[in-house]
Symmetry: C2
Subunit: 222 residues, 2 copies
DNA sequence: CCCTCTCCATACGGTGCCGTATGGAGGGAC
DNA sequence: GTCCCTCCATACGGCACCGTATGGAGAGGG
């Protein structure tokens, strides 16, 4: 057993806070429960931090570094834009990042979380859009597809965390991610619908657009 | 002023709870604050409900009816599958449904919310998949795309609620939704990348896939 | 050996919420 | 009018958490 009592530093509290966010969301960042988990008391906490919000700020800074800076740095080492995007998709969907991401997005209405969130989303979508423009998409289309990709990412990790049985596993997941990635990267088939802006007559136009393609070459899982 | 005191029924509390979820999430379903908002006291609440969880259950039943049953019923009146899907997209992205949906998804770890959520997601994705199979997609591909569509929906409303400035407005939003809808409905272009699973050599292959299409027909925002 | 400075434990008061107990106010049945 | 039954107001105890106050324990310097 050997009940070690190594003095704690602010980093220990910050790390514990991030872990708690992954497990219970923002509500998990509570001083007394964290103290119990760290085998100490509030006395320790209020020595290192002014209050709960200070801990939250520190945890959010740590999150920014680990969940955005680091991953973009890693992915950016890939040789070309398409490889970067694929590496990004693989990295963010596969790991244990999801719980923290989901819980933080879910708390984006909190005054301390909101600015960090806005910044992170802006940086991430900008990075994706930059890769897409490098692939030849014009700026507007790249922005659209970047937002599209990010929304899909958000929904995906949300499902993974909240309703895991709705998400396929193993090779089916591979196939699913392939579908998603190609939707983001590939040009549409005939160039009929979608990319056009169309101010008001969207509904009638959309009908004809929807019935356009499928029914013939079922290339899918055959 | 005329401080009316109309007796309250369970439905009033249920409606107030759903409203509170839309504004503050599950934490908003708190007896005393709701009582204040309704201009009454806890005494009223505990007459109509056994406890807080009973109110939550009632609110979730109301949510199921309003946010899944009703909308699927409405959309199903459209003439063909593609029109149904488009109507579904328009209906769920445009309105004030988003806050409640986002906050409830964010609380899907709550023991009372989890089963309701699972049920709703299953029904919704099943409906989308059914339309896609009616459009000629085989079952596996339809399931993939249904999940894809739902994940995109989830991420979209999440962004709308949490970081609205990241989502385009007006005609740009129309264009964006067109991009999304065509990604879900259209067949991929040449059938090169993506739907293949590809175990290890993904990066080199992904390169050729990414640089395949764009750069030519820039139909975008010209 | 003692002094001091860093770090932590304990005790306390305050707040916001849940759930219970109990005493009515108000309106219909008769 | 009076009874009763439905509905609500008030008061209370309890819990979980925040933040403060204060008294040490331990290590290093002199």
């Amino acid at each position: 057993m050997a009940v070690r009592k190594p003095r704690l530093g602010p980093d220990d509290w910050t790390a514990a806070a991030l872990t708690a966010i992954g497990e219970q969301g923002l509500a998990g960042v509570a001083v007394e429960p964290l103290a119990t988990r760290l085998g100490t008391t509030k006395g320790s906490f209020y020595w290192h931090f002014a209050n709960r919000d200070a801990l939250l700020d520190a945890a959010l800074r740590s999150w920014d570094e680990t969940y955005t800076d680091a991953i973009l740095r890693t992915v950016d080492a890939e040789p070309d834009p398409a490889a970067r995007l694929r590496a990004l998709f693989v990295a963010v969907t596969a790991s244990e990042r999801a719980p923290v991401e989901v819980h933080l997005h879910a708390a984006a209405d909190h005054p301390a979380v909101a600015p960090a969130m806005r910044r992170a989303v802006a940086r991430r979508t900008a990075y994706i859009a930059a890769q897409l423009t490098a692939l030849g998409f014009d700026q507007a289309e790249a922005d659209r597809r970047a937002l599209f990709a990010y929304a899909t990412y958000l929904g995906h990790i949300q499902l993974v965390v909240r309703i895991p049985e709705a998400v396929p596993q193993g090779p089916a997941l591979e196939a699913y991610l392939g579908t998603v990635l190609s939707a983001v990267l590939d040009r549409p088939a005939g160039g009929q619908a979608g990319t056009r802006s169309s101010s008001g007559t969207a509904s009638s136009r959309g009908t004809s657009a929807g019935t356009a393609s499928p029914g013939t070459a079922s290339a899918g899982t055959a």
